[in-house]
């Protein structure tokens, strides 16, 4: 809370996701594509294949335009965006890894220079020299991945560094090797996908078929190699990750399914260009590129999600606080007394204070009406309930950090959120009551499932149960719903078993 918060309407996490996925997609292509180019050039030289060479010349210009401009600048873009949305974490990474960034930068200079020289000097320098330039490009690009990956993996598994503070522990952290392997595999796969894309435009039919088949093989090899790498990686994820996949973070669970099934689907459909390269057209190439982009999106999404509630695991929360700072705030004099960018001090139980608390404690992950917007989810709930829920954020879906503020600040936040969301909106049905009064922490059958423990309760038993729950289990907020809501909720819970019963009868 050392920094101002960018109250971007769409939500900064979404912006990061968009920029990061596009960049990562292109930058892995920039690496794998470099390898593809030099290997193909070797092959074309050896066979003295003029058509293949001509294709490579065109492909390399496309390659240069994509990687030099979009790839390079969007990488700078990620840096801009994380600085704007997670300045404290960006600052930590920059301090710890200045020399890694600096090494990355030195490699980047070579990459850029080599890419320019490579596409500009076809047939203008000896074939050997030209190939050497290509290799220089690929090696620099690959090394830059090997280097930057230390920082990416660190955010998820800082490992020994937390205790030792030693740079090398931070860099060669537990997921360093598996993620390096996984990314290498992905680079190879993507190189094939892009080659499919440019290969379909080759005029000479026999050459086209050969390129498409080869490109298909590359893509398949990358996809298959990614499997053991990702499996290895998966085993080393932080402890809470399994729970998130199991529904603790709905979006992550979905992304995991997309990744697994999409990967299998990709491997299968990749047989098409390999077996029937002649029938492979631009439409299919675009489809493949989109499938790959989706998989990429899913895997990056997962990487971001399993890190919650942290931005750097066990070191800094998503809201920019270190555990000790959060602890000091919640047990001491609260957020406003310690945050730097505050307009209203001291804290009072007003919506003005609440607005500031929302900005400081929640805005890094939530918006009001946009991405992960809270008003929709809180509409119809009473202020007391929100007040009680905020005290229990760490038990909810989404793996949130505990609320770091004082009691007054919590009250102010509840008041503000209740005002913004509208407390008087009536709840429409039992499903809505469930999702708003229980669904932050439970689902019917997935995350912290209730269908097992609530089976067999009669309607009036449920009505009696709701107010008692909080007394039994401290993690639950006290029931504060209306009688109508309780009835609707009980109906809804009972409907689970009615449906199941009918199915059994059938």
């Amino acid at each position: 809370m050392n920094f101002p918060v960018w109250e971007l309407e769409m939500g900064t996490p979404l912006l990061i996701a968009i920029v990061a996925i596009l960049h990562v997609y292109v930058s892995h292509f920039a690496i794998g594509g470099g390898l593809f180019l030099v290997v193909m050039e070797h092959y074309a030289n050896r066979k003295d294949d003029r058509h293949l060479r001509n294709y490579l010349i065109t492909h390399s210009r496309f390659f240069a335009l994509v990687t030099l401009v979009f790839g390079a600048i969007s990488g700078v873009g990620i840096w801009f965006v994380i600085g704007l949305s997670s300045p404290a974490a960006t600052s930590s990474l920059i301090h710890l890894f200045v020399w890694v960034w600096a090494i990355e930068w030195a490699l980047f200079i070579v990459e850029i220079a080599a890419a320019i020289v490579y596409y500009m000097t076809w047939d203008r320098v000896s074939r050997r020299t030209h190939l050497a330039v290509g290799w220089v490009y690929f090696i620099a690009a690959f090394l830059s991945l090997v280097v930057i990956n230390g920082i990416l993996a660190f955010m998820l598994t800082p490992g020994e560094w937390l205790a030792s503070g030693n740079f090398w522990d931070a860099f060669f952290n537990p997921t360093y090797w598996p993620s390096t392997l996984a990314r290498t595999a992905i680079c190879i796969g993507l190189a094939g996908i892009y080659a499919l894309f440019t290969g379909v435009f080759v005029k000479h039919a026999a050459t086209r078929a050969r390129i498409i088949r080869l490109a298909g093989l590359w893509a398949l090899a990358g996809t298959i190699l990614a499997v053991p790498a990702l499996y290895w990686y998966h085993g080393l994820l932080p402890a809470g990750a399994a729970e998130l996949f199991a529904g603790g973070m709905p979006a992550a669970a979905l992304a995991a399914r997309v990744l697994v099934w999409g990967g299998i689907a990709l491997a299968v459909i990749l047989l098409a260009p390999i077996i029937f390269p002649k029938n492979f057209g631009p439409g299919s190439a675009i489809t493949f590129a989109l499938v790959a982009l989706t998989l990429f999106g899913a895997s990056e999404w997962i990487r971001e999600s399993v890190r919650k509630p942290w931005v750097i695991v066990d070191y800094m929360y998503g809201n920019g606080l270190r555990p000790a700072e959060a602890e000091a705030m919640s047990t001491g004099d609260g957020i406003l007394a310690n945050a730097v960018w505050v307009q209203e001090r001291p804290a009072a139980a007003t919506t003005a204070t609440g607005r500031e608390i929302f900005r400081l404690a929640c805005r890094s992950c939530h918006t009001l009406d946009g991405y992960r917007g809270l008003t929709d989810r809180l509409g119809g709930l009473d202020e007391d309930y929100i007040y009680e829920s905020v005290a229990r954020l760490e038990h909810m879906v989404g793996a949130m950090p505990a609320f770091p503020g004082s009691d007054v600040e919590r009250r102010a936040l509840a008041r503000y959120l209740a005002q913004e969301s509208g407390t008087t909106l009536p709840m429409l049905d039992g499903a809505e009551v469930f999702s708003k009064r229980c669904g932050f922490c439970h689902s019917q059958s997935g995350f912290r499932a209730l269908d097992g423990s609530l089976e067999g309760y009669a309607h009036d038993e449920l009505l009696e149960l709701f107010p008692e729950l909080a007394e039994m289990i401290e993690e639950m907020p006290p029931w504060s719903g209306t009688e109508d809501e309780a009835r609707m909720l009980a109906d809804f819970i009972q409907s689970w078993y009615a449906v199941a019963g009918e199915e059994e009868e059938n």
Partner: protein, 365 residues
């Protein structure tokens, strides 16, 4: 409202202060040259393009500059990353804050840069087939880069003003706003922009000198024209420079007026060296056949740029002095990683030198 002063990062600096400060200023100088080619060269190229229908010389110059611009952009961006890194290490708490205070504009630098860069490539590859649309594209591209420069000036002036941050931020936390209210912003930006035109004039002069053997008439014209652009822009920039000086807060201005001896001497020396460069270039414009005054003038100008970069750092130190000084920071050098960087850098620069050699020796396309 009170100044807002964020705290420095709790993690220590991974190198001695002097080294980081040196790298910040040095890499900025390296960035300054291609960045000036880009800003100033873009503007001069657009002007030449507009005059190209009447003057064949201008037409050729525009064509030549647009051929080179994509590579210049690559250099400007690549060399710009390093100072941006080091400024975050040393002044992160100020730079992140000011960036967020103008968040939308700062973010849009990225898409705009991509757009401008692609337009530069479009001009390069499709010059002839663009025909009528060409001047539109040229001006859009120039506008984009001029705007990006303005955004940078905004951020690097706003980062120095914790005294205005509270009012600035709470007025508009959703999108941020530029540093419009700062009277030092305008002369500072213009100083940079007009300086870029002057440097680009020298660039044109060098292009002319290098082409000697090919087409003597045009080369001589280019040398003379580039020199003239330098001379006009520099005269104008001396005036803007004084405006900049008096627009600074008094406390900051005084460091150049005797309060800080190095800063004062440096300013004086930079003015003298500018005059030297001006005289040399003027001689070069009169005698386009002789390289010596041109090269000497260019070297003198490089010296001026370096001095300006150092003064820029002194200015930053003075602005921030009431809130923060660098010696507050903890230092815990990572010598091994730093060594690795040094080795990597040397190898990489060697490789780049080889690549440039390959390019120079390549057969003409």
């Amino acid at each position: 409202m009170e100044p807002i002063v964020p705290l420095p990062d709790v993690l220590p600096l991974p190198a001695p202060l002097w080294l980081l400060e040196f790298l910040l200023v040095f890499t900025f100088i390296c960035h300054l040259v291609p960045m000036n080619f880009l800003f100033g060269g873009g503007i001069l190229a657009a002007i030449s393009h507009a005059r190209g229908s009447k003057s064949e010389n201008h037409g050729r110059l525009a064509r030549r500059l647009f051929e080179l611009l994509p590579t210049v952009i690559a250099f400007a961006v690549t060399l710009g990353i390093a100072p941006l890194l080091f400024v975050q290490v040393l002044y992160g708490q100020f730079v992140y804050s000011s960036s967020i205070l103008m968040a939308n504009a700062w973010f849009w630098v990225v898409p705009l840069l991509i757009a401008g860069y692609y337009l530069a490539y479009l001009l390069r590859f499709k010059w002839d087939s663009l025909t009528g649309m060409r001047s539109g594209i040229v001006w859009v591209m120039v506008l984009i880069f001029t705007w990006i420069g303005f955004i940078y000036s905004n951020n690097f002036t706003l980062m120095l003003r914790p005294d205005v941050w509270a009012a600035h931020y709470f007025a508009n936390p959703a999108s941020g706003q530029l540093n419009w209210a700062d009277p030092a912003l305008y002369p500072r930006y213009l100083h940079m922009l007009v300086g870029a035109v002057a440097v680009a004039g020298i660039w044109i002069m060098i292009i002319g000198l290098r082409r000697k053997s090919g087409d003597v008439a045009w080369s001589n014209w280019a040398v003379a024209y580039g020199a003239r652009m330098f001379m006009h822009a520099t005269l104008l920039n001396v005036i803007i420079g004084f405006w900049f000086l008096v627009a600074l807060p008094k406390r900051v201005m005084m460091i150049f007026m005797g309060e800080n001896m190095t800063a004062t001497v440096l300013l004086f020396a930079a003015i003298v060296l500018t005059a030297v460069a001006w005289v040399l270039i003027q001689r070069a414009s009169k005698k386009p056949d002789s390289r010596t005054p041109a090269v000497a003038g260019a070297v003198a100008l490089l010296g001026v740029l370096a001095m300006m970069a150092v003064m820029r750092q002194q200015l930053r130190t003075a602005y921030l002095a009431p809130y923060f000084t660098l010696d507050e920071l903890q230092v815990a050098p990572q010598w091994d990683v730093l060594g690795l960087f040094a080795v990597t850098l040397v190898i990489c620069l060697g490789v780049v030198a080889w690549l440039i050699k390959v390019m120079m020796r390549a057969k003409p396309a």
